[in-house]
Subunit: 350 residues, 2 copies
């Protein structure tokens, strides 16, 4: 296929390697591997997981759950506090597949329970330190209320506690990520012990933890998503190798300004997203690498996306790279945050 | 329509007011009004412009040009340095409608000229200080080369100089915006005088300038886009009134955390975009206001979007507002940057 406009390129060999590694580590640890499909959101990419034996998945919205359920996935956890305005979708899913939802309050348990006809699984979203959503792990009183309400329901089976320790994304070292993992597991275990039951599952999710720990001791399920592609952010965190990054965006060069050491590409915020990492005090919106028909070139420091407008990207480039470019050339961009970049391309990819 | 998931709401009365005001100011100034359609990207919203007499438009990609050309718009400027990998689209447009393209180098003029069969207009992209794209206004040598190449072509008619003074977006005051406008016009006029021709058109584009100057003296065309919706960024810049903002996103509340003064909504980076403004040292991703069936509530300081994940938004709210919310409530978000937010919703809107 001739590339003429911003185009998402996936390296399926790397992607398969990433899935295999994570899947093997889960199997060796004796935990369930329930990958998060929000990162790729594609039935086609989902088939790579299916080929490797994955049958249980995670998504982040009821719309995504319906999309994958309709494509034949029949065991799905929606790892997002349940939106009670969408009970029609919950009802549909409860009748069609095995679906697990996330609860944080007794009221939503009751509303959902009364509006469905099938059965569903219920997890309680716990916050062990990230502070985004969930009931704080120390807040036993509120957790008990939700557990009680779920156990009261004939429609909802209590499954366990689910956490996303997203604070690993801003960790300063691998050691810090491991400490966060251990802290998460210890808080969840304490909670399980309080409730005196071995039936309570513990489910964790973040890609940094899942990538760096050697064994998933103390939990029952992992739900990483980003690991399927990784990205520049994960590389800077040290949780993947450059050769694990399985996604880039090919963009056409429309202008070269040698005097400013930059090139302008057709590829902007609507293609890459405005997510950035800060390196040496500068916001970086992606790394610019050589375009190749198969794959893409290596990341070289100082070749990066300096700024983004709606459709424009401004690349700051070293002379050696800049001199190979002219209007009509292609450059590849290794994204900062693959989840948002891939989302922007919808289900179009090569 | 019952809102159950993140939904773009447009206030068409405000939108019509915004178009009317800008269109009238252009007419009274005797300049062409060629609004930028990248902000809304919708044939339906385009009809509001058509009803108010607009026939000439601007877009930021050849794909958008094809989309609007196929919907009956027949005088379009693509205000983006031409991408010579898309000559098939240029050929198509050159045969179907009046199309103007942007050039920055003699080579691209030559490539385009040789690949089309119809006629097109050609502008030269000039940089008067923003530093994103274009040939610097003082670089007469390079500008002459491109003018010469366009004039040599039998396919391309030289139209003039086009600029986007995007540095008005980071101005600190209205006075600074006006100074940038005056500087832009003065540099373009100098350029036109150098080329000894009154036929050369001067086209400017940014919403801040177009909103605050009283008359468009010294230019021939204005191409603002963002003004159709405005947004919180434009409000903080002082270039619009709150009652001019014509877009918001309605989002469902999924969780309320009174102890942290926050609410979690289904509405994240894939709905709002990660664009932010810095207020009192904090990144703000949108303002949270009361949801109403018609329109939305007023902006109150300290009720804002504190952080965004892929599908989650975390709202920091004052008690008075927080106490009105529970899971299943709706909140409206006034976006920081309407262009990116509206793009994320594709052509779906209410």
């Amino acid at each position: 296929m001739k590339i003429t406009e911003p185009t998402l390129k996936i390296d399926y060999e790397r992607l398969t390697g990433n899935i295999n590694r994570m899947s093997n580590k889960a199997r060796l640890s004796g935990v369930r591997f329930r990958p998060h499909f929000k990162t790729h959101q594609s039935v086609t990419t989902g088939e790579y997981f299916r080929d490797l034996g994955v049958r249980e998945i995670t998504v982040s919205s009821l719309n995504m759950a319906v999309y994958f359920a309709d494509a034949g996935w029949n065991d799905i956890t929606v790892a997002f506090p349940v939106n009670i305005l969408e009970t029609d979708k919950i009802k549909y899913l409860s009748e069609k597949i095995k679906i697990n939802l996330l609860f944080e309050s007794a009221e939503t348990v009751d509303t959902v329970s009364r509006s469905i006809s099938g059965k569903i699984g219920g997890y309680i979203k716990i916050d062990t330190g990230y502070g985004r959503t969930g009931i704080k792990s120390g807040n036993i009183k509120d957790i008990e209320k939700v557990v009680y309400e779920i156990k009261k329901s004939r429609r909802i089976q209590f499954k366990g506690f689910l956490v996303h320790s997203g604070h690993t994304y801003s960790a300063k070292s691998i050691e810090e990520i491991i400490l966060i993992y251990e802290d998460t597991v210890s808080k969840l275990t304490e909670l399980r012990n309080y409730f005196w039951s071995d039936d309570i599952e513990l489910s964790i999710g973040d890609t940094p933890s899942c990538s760096v720990v050697n064994r998933f001791d103390g939990v029952d399920e992992i739900r990483p998503g980003n690991f399927v592609f990784y990205d520049y952010k994960m590389l800077t965190l040290g949780v993947c190798k450059e050769s694990d990054i399985a996604v880039s965006v090919a963009v056409p060069v429309v202008s070269v300004h040698k005097e400013r050491n930059n090139a302008v590409v057709y590829g902007g915020a609507v293609h890459l997203s405005k997510d950035s990492v800060i390196c040496k005090g500068k916001n970086i919106y992606g790394m610019a690498v050589e375009f190749r028909n198969q794959g893409w070139g290596e990341i070289i420091p100082d070749n990066y996306v300096e700024s983004l407008s709606q459709e424009h990207g401004i690349l700051k480039l070293k002379n050696a790279f800049l001199e190979t470019l002219k209007p009509g050339s292609l450059v590849s961009i290794v994204p900062v945050h693959s989840c948002l970049t891939v989302d922007l391309f919808g289900r179009k990819r090569v």
